[in-house]
Symmetry: C2
C-alpha cells in the first residue's frame, strides 16, 4: 500500500523548532512535503499576498531528514495555495498539518493565527487539515510531550474523516511536571485580548508603538478550549470557514427596516 502524503506548513518560518517536531513525527507515518514561510509570519491571520510578488525556492532546511521542502516569501495561506497549485499539482495530500506553533492559538487567537490560516486554507481547498499549537511562546520551547499526541491525532485523521468544511485547531498545554490528562473536543472560548500600546520615541524623536496585551477570558464554560488547556488536556476545536451568523439573519429581517 502506498504511503499517505502529508503537506506541512507553519507560521513561525521553516527553521522554527516547532515545524521540525511536526516533520519528525509525520515522516514516521507518511511521505512529507514542506512548504513554509522563509521567515516569521506570526499574527498574519488569513492574509494573502495580492499586491506583491511571491518567491518560492527549494529549501535545504530538511535535507538532513531527506524531506522535500520549499520556502516561500509569503504568508501561511500563500504557502498552502502555492503547494496545491504549483508544487504538488497532481499529488493530492491525504492531510495538511500546520505548526507546531510557538504559542497558543486557542479561543479568539484562532482569528489572528497564521498557523490556523494554513489549515483553514487547506479546508477551503477540500483537504483534511489540522493546525497544532503549543501554549509556550519561547523559541526554546519543549515540544517533547506533544509528540505522542501529534502522532495519535495524525493517525486518527488519516483513518477517520475530518468533518467536511472544517479544520481542527489543536492546542497543547505548556510542558510541565504534570502528565497530560487526555484529549478533549471543545468549542472556542469566548475571550479576547485587552490591548495596551507601549509608546516610545525612536532615535529621530518620532513616536512609535509596540502592541502588548493581556488575554481576558470571561467564559466560564467547561466545554471550552481554554478550560481544557488550563486543566492540562489537549484541546481540539473543529473550525469552519462559513462565518455566517445564521441566528442573526432572522433578527435582521424582523427588526431592521431595509
Amino acid at each position: 500500500m502506498a504511503k499517505p502524503l502529508i503537506l506541512i506548513s507553519n507560521d513561525d518560518g521553516i527553521t522554527a523548532p516547532g515545524i521540525r517536531t511536526l516533520v519528525e513525527v509525520a515522516m514516521q507515518i507518511a511521505d512529507v512535503v514542506v512548504v513554509a514561510p522563509d521567515g516569521p509570519q506570526s499574527g498574519m491571520g488569513h492574509a494573502i499576498t495580492i499586491g506583491n510578488t511571491l518567491r518560492l525556492d527549494k529549501s535545504i532546511a530538511f535535507d538532513d531528514l531527506g524531506i522535500e521542502a520549499y520556502e516561500c516569501s509569503g504568508t501561511p495561506a500563500d504557502c498552502v495555495k502555492l503547494a496545491k497549485y504549483h508544487v504538488l499539482k497532481d499529488r493530492t495530500p491525504d492531510l495538511v498539518v500546520s505548526g507546531i506553533n510557538h504559542g497558543s492559538n486557542s479561543s479568539i487567537s484562532v482569528l489572528y493565527s497564521g498557523t490556523m490560516s494554513a489549515a483553514i486554507e487547506a479546508a477551503i481547498e477540500g483537504l483534511p487539515a489540522i493546525g497544532f499549537s503549543l501554549c509556550d511562546y519561547g523559541h526554546e520551547a519543549d515540544f517533547s510531550h506533544t509528540r505522542p499526541f501529534v502522532e495519535l491525532i495524525i493517525r486518527q485523521a488519516l483513518k477517520n474523516p475530518i468533518p467536511e468544511n472544517t479544520a481542527l485547531n489543536v492546542n497543547f498545554p505548556k510542558k510541565s511536571d504534570e502528565t497530560i490528562k487526555g484529549v478533549k473536543v471543545c468549542r472556542q472560548a469566548h475571550a479576547k485580548w485587552q490591548e495596551e500600546f507601549d509608546e516610545r520615541l525612536d532615535p529621530r524623536n518620532r513616536r512609535y508603538f509596540w502592541m502588548t496585551g493581556s488575554f481576558v477570558n470571561h467564559d466560564k464554560g467547561e466545554d471550552t478550549d481554554e478550560w481544557a488547556i488550563v486543566n492540562n488536556y489537549v484541546s481540539i476545536v473543529p473550525c469552519q470557514f462559513d462565518m455566517t451568523a445564521y441566528h442573526a439573519i432572522s433578527t435582521l429581517n424582523n427588526e431592521w427596516d431595509i
Copy 2:
C-alpha cells in the same frame, strides 16, 4: 441630543476614494473619527502587527472636511485596536464602519478581507460594526449608487442593535444602468478562489510569482450573498467570530478514538 460617534477605517488606505465616500455619508449623520492604514492593506485578512513596531500619526487626509483623522502603519485590525485603546479611549463609538472597499468581499473573500477584519475586530471589542464593499476593483470605481444605501444601513444600525458578537458584511453590486433592486440579508455563499501562479523571471534571472485566480461558485442557493449581488441586490451577511463548527463536535467525539 448629542450626535452619535462613528469610527471609520478601511484596508485600501486613508487616501482611497472608497473611504472618502464613507466619511462623506457618515458625517451627515454623526461625529466621525478616522483611523486608517497609511497605505494599501488589501488581502491582509485578520493580520495584526506583533513582531514589529507601529506608527500612528495625525493625518491631513480629511482636513478639507474638518474630520479628525489618523494614519497607521499597521493592518486594519491594528487600526481598530489603536483607535479603541489609544485614540478614542473614553469616547465609545456608537458604530464602527469600514470601507468602502474597492472590490468584492462576498462569500469566501470575507476571510481574506482587511475591510471585514476591521469590522470583526470591532465586534470582538463589543462594538456594533459594518464592513462595506463595492464589487468593483478599480481605483476609479463609481461609488455614487452606494450612498443612499450606506446612509440607510448606518441609520438602521444606529437605531436597531446589530446582533451581539456579529459584524455585518455589506456588498454592493458594481454601478450599472440597472437600478439596485433592494437589500437582502444573506448567508455566505460556499465558493472559493481557483488559483493560478503567473511565473516570471526578474532582471537578475531569479524566479518569482504573481498570484492570480478566478472565483468559482458552485453554490446554487438563492439565499447567498453571491446570488443577491448577481441579481443586483445589496447583500448583508451577519458574520460571527466564533469559528467553532458545533455540528462537528459530536462527530469527532463519536467517530474518533482519542
